[in-house]
């Protein structure tokens, strides 16, 4: 087996088939072990990685066998972690049932130390097939459940996590400068690709941590708490009222673009995470089957759902095939799948049949179609958010489609999503534009 130039693993031997289509769930069997842009995939050969590679070679067998292997691998990893960290302060994940601690470090999930963002033992990083765009911020997501209790699988909704679960999402950017610590950062950030997590740590060189959002599952439901990283990048501090940070994005072509980065306040967290406007209950958005059903970026050789199952993070019956969103960047995937995955991840937390944007009648979940999806649909309360265009989607005519205008504009009164975006996602616009351009027909 070798890495293709585009990062896909070419299969040269049956044993290389990492996730067979009939392996447990029948989930998508892309033979992609890790993120192609992580050079560490082939460069590194730690003991842990070697153990995991052994595990992945047994992929054709049933998942219990695999689970055992994984357990061994994880034990090995834990041992490695413990030995590596034996001289360090050991942060322990802590569920705060009532209090909202002042510092992110009080949760004990992640900590910035010695030039790396370190995940505590038992804290699992994960990522999504197609994530929400947030002004080109990169994100590190983690999940931790108390006493190793699993979340219960759900085919369409966010998994049902046990009380005490803590999910974090850390927003960070590549930066041109690399002084550490950096008290006098000038606000310059760059575009880039997510950095890997190795031996439970993400190196922080050339990175700036902006904020970490914590979702905690308490007895009464989920709470959302925004933490903003301090100037010297040692910890993040609770900022319930959110913040506006003046940053400058240095685009890949060198263009400097000042923008106002929004850290949402606790209510604005609910603006996206209360995905049902009637119950108003806050829920995680990312940890759904269709977003997680992808090759793991953190456990080589595993489909991420299988990894969660193997780790005991997840339980329940998984149908075959399990729902799956495309990676919006993967040009080997059908255009429509990529565009729909993008719209799902960026819009459907509000634009679903029960969401806050059900007032618009526009539904951007994966199963929507026809006028509900926007085809020739007259806007209801878009106001000047129409951009002077007649319908949400005019098949074949992206330049007449309101959807594109909403994605392109950075006017807070007209843009979509309403929160968390201040610059245009050029690549996202291009994708959705291509998708609409490829549609046949028009609006009669």
């Amino acid at each position: 087996m070798r890495l293709g130039y585009d990062g896909h693993v070419e299969i040269s031997h049956p044993h290389d088939l990492i996730v067979g289509t009939n392996f447990l769930t029948g989930r998508h069997g892309q033979a992609v072990a890790s993120r192609p842009w992580e050079p560490t995939m082939k460069a590194e050969n730690s003991k842990w990685r070697q153990t995991r590679r052994n595990a992945s070679n047994h992929a054709g067998e049933n998942w219990r066998k695999r689970k055992e292997n994984t357990a061994k691998a994880l034990l090995g990893a834990a041992a490695l972690f413990l030995s590596a960290c034996s001289q360090q302060h050991e942060a322990a994940p802590t569920y705060h049932a009532d209090e909202n601690p002042e510092h992110l470090s009080d949760w004990g999930m992640i900590a910035a130390k010695d030039g790396a963002l370190r995940l505590s033992n038992g804290v699992t990083p994960y990522d999504l097939a197609t994530p929400l765009f947030s002004d080109y911020a990169l994100k590190l997501r983690t999940v931790w459940t108390p006493d190793g209790k699993p979340a219960v699988y759900n085919a369409t909704e966010a998994f049902d996590f046990p009380v005490g679960t803590v999910i974090t999402k850390t927003f960070y950017y590549p930066t041109p400068a690399n002084e550490w610590p950096r008290e006098n950062w000038n606000g310059d950030v760059q575009q880039g690709l997510e950095r890997g997590v190795h031996d439970n740590a993400m190196a922080l060189d050339h990175l700036r941590l902006i904020e970490t959002r914590v979702l905690v599952r308490r007895a009464a439901g989920w709470d959302a708490l925004p933490y903003v990283w301090n100037e010297d990048q040692t910890d993040a501090v609770l900022k319930r009222t959110g913040a506006v940070l003046p940053l400058t994005l240095i685009r890949d072509d060198g263009e400097m673009q000042p923008f106002s980065y929004l850290v949402p306040n606790a209510n604005q967290c609910a603006g996206c995470h209360a995905t049902n406007a009637t119950t108003k209950a806050i829920k995680p958005i990312g940890p759904k089957a269709r977003h997680l059903n992808k090759p793991s970026s953190f456990a080589e050789g595993f489909n991420q759902l299988d990894h969660w199952l193997a780790k005991g993070l997840l339980t329940g019956e998984i149908e075959q095939p399990a729902p799956r969103n495309a990676d919006w960047r993967d040009e080997n995937e059908p255009l429509a799948d990529r565009a729909r995955a993008y719209l799902d991840a960026n819009c459907s937390h509000c634009h679903n049949p029960n969401g806050p944007a059900d007032t618009s009648g526009l539904n951007l979940e994966p199963d929507a179609h026809g006028p509900a999806l926007g085809n020739c649909k007259t806007p209801v309360a878009a106001g000047r958010g129409t951009g002077g265009r007649p319908y949400d989607i005019v098949p074949g005519r992206p330049e007449l489609s309101i959807t594109l205008f909403r994605m392109e504009t950075t006017d807070p009164g007209a843009m979509m999503p309403e929160l968390g975006r201040a610059v245009t996602h050029e690549e996202g616009v291009e994708l959705v534009s291509e998708w609409i351009a490829a549609m046949e027909g028009g609006c009669g």
């Binding site: 400058t248 606790a266 085809n375 265009r389 007649p390 807070p412 009164g413 007209a414 309403e418």
Partner: protein
């Protein structure tokens, strides 16, 4: 360049650096954190008092807790200015029930000024929403915007300058809108996909359209049973400054009361005058210029049960908006004449027997112009006496319930 960007944010400037402001000055920015924290920490039963003064905000406010009252010192004394807003689609977004807001103003938001989504028992009283520049397309869409609410009282409020609707009530039930004033909006007051609304005692002046009662497709509920009475609807002749695509952009300037695709609407005892296209317009979805491809199957595009009686009409119809309507006027009334008080597009639901199922007019001398929409306006004519001389059973008055029962 960089320092300039920082300076902008630090000063919470009204707009991008270097851009000339014609709107009102923002005001005190230090209050933002205080109010945000109060909104976050609010408990049911709390009253959040906002003192007299001008306060500047750079991002949206939101409230998610039931049972909260927000109270200012008066709609001209307590002003929340969003002229320097950099994030958020509203000024204040409320997703809660048993909510009361009174005696304050929200100015110059980038999007909607006050949005209240999915709540019950909502009171909006003596609130002003305004875009302080001229009426222009860049203004936010809605002034006061309750949507999907039940049991709503909106009274003594003012909406100025919205690029869509000043007072907009969408997808709601059991609604009283009274004694408000709407001016220089595209739509003054708009009732959309709402069941059971009483709209009375309001003044709608200098909008593009004064009072609109609409149904739009693809939504969770249609609407029906609205009474529009004892309002003053006059001189709504402001050029339409809504952007194309938004439903109100198709409303001709000079429209008094407009019914589109809605059922069981009573228009009575109003003073309606000098709306240059027509004092009353009754139309179907087919006349709105929207694509029929974008209409879900069970949507009823036809108005029916529209009852116009006992209004005081004066003037109007003498200078309609656009060449087609001008030509129409000349064809039916001559160059010096006027379009009759009620303009109807002529569409009749095939399931109904005829014009008298759609529109009854018992309003003295007021005539109905049928513009013959189904035949591409080939034969527009003033309806003969008797065609619309009919009556529908009158709708009952709205009774507010629960905590609003005695208001």
């Amino acid at each position: 360049m960089k320092s300039q960007a920082f300076a902008c944010a630090a000063l919470l400037l009204a707009a991008a650096c270097g851009e000339k402001q014609e709107a009102a000055a923002p005001g005190d920015a230090s209050y933002q954190e205080t109010l945000m924290t109060q909104l976050l920490d609010a408990k049911p039963g709390d009253v959040i008092d906002i003192p007299e003064g001008r306060f500047a905000f750079d991002r949206s406010l939101s409230l998610t807790v039931d049972g909260v009252t927000i109270k200012g010192a008066g709609m001209d004394k307590t002003v929340l200015s969003f002229a320097g807003q950099v994030a958020g689609a509203e000024g204040l977004l409320v997703t809660a029930s048993d909510f009361t807001i009174e005696d304050l103003a929200i100015e110059d938001t980038k999007g909607d000024a006050l949005k209240i989504s999915e709540g019950e028992n909502i009171i909006i009283r003596r609130v002003r929403t305004e875009w302080t520049g001229k009426p222009k397309t860049e203004n936010g869409a809605y002034g006061i915007y309750p949507v999907q609410v039940k049991n709503l009282l909106m009274e003594d409020s003012v909406a100025i300058g919205a690029s869509d609707a000043g007072l907009y009530i969408g997808q709601s039930q059991n609604v009283v809108i009274r004694n408000n004033r709407a001016e220089y909006n595209v739509a003054g007051i708009e009732i959309e996909n709402t069941f059971d609304a009483d709209v009375y005692g309001n003044v709608a002046v200098n909008n593009t359209g004064g009072i609109l009662v609409f149904n739009m497709p693809n939504l969770k509920q249609p609407g029906a049973r609205t009474r529009v009475f004892k309002n003053e609807v006059y001189e709504n002749n402001t050029k339409n400054f809504g952007l194309e695509g938004t439903p109100v952009a198709s409303v001709p300037a000079g429209s008094g009361v407009v019914i589109n695709s809605n059922d069981e609407v009573e228009i009575f005892d109003n003073d309606i005058r000098d709306n240059k296209t027509a004092n009353v317009i009754v139309s179907s979805f087919y006349s709105s210029g929207f694509s029929e491809d974008g209409m879900q199957g069970d949507f009823d595009p036809y108005p029916q049960g529209i009852y116009v009686y006992g209004n005081r009409f004066e003037g109007g119809g003498d200078n309609p908006d656009g060449l087609e309507l001008q030509a129409l006027k000349i064809a039916v009334a001559g160059p010096l004449g006027r379009i009759p008080d009620v303009l109807w597009d002529g569409y009749v639901d095939p399931a109904l027997t005829g014009a008298s199922d759609v529109l009854c007019v018992q309003n003295g001398e007021a005539k109905v112009l049928n513009v013959d929409g189904p035949n591409d306006n080939k034969n527009p004519k003033v309806a003969e006496d008797g065609v619309h001389d009919c009556a529908f059973e009158k709708l009952p008055a709205i009774t507010l319930t629960g905590p609003l029962a005695d208001l």
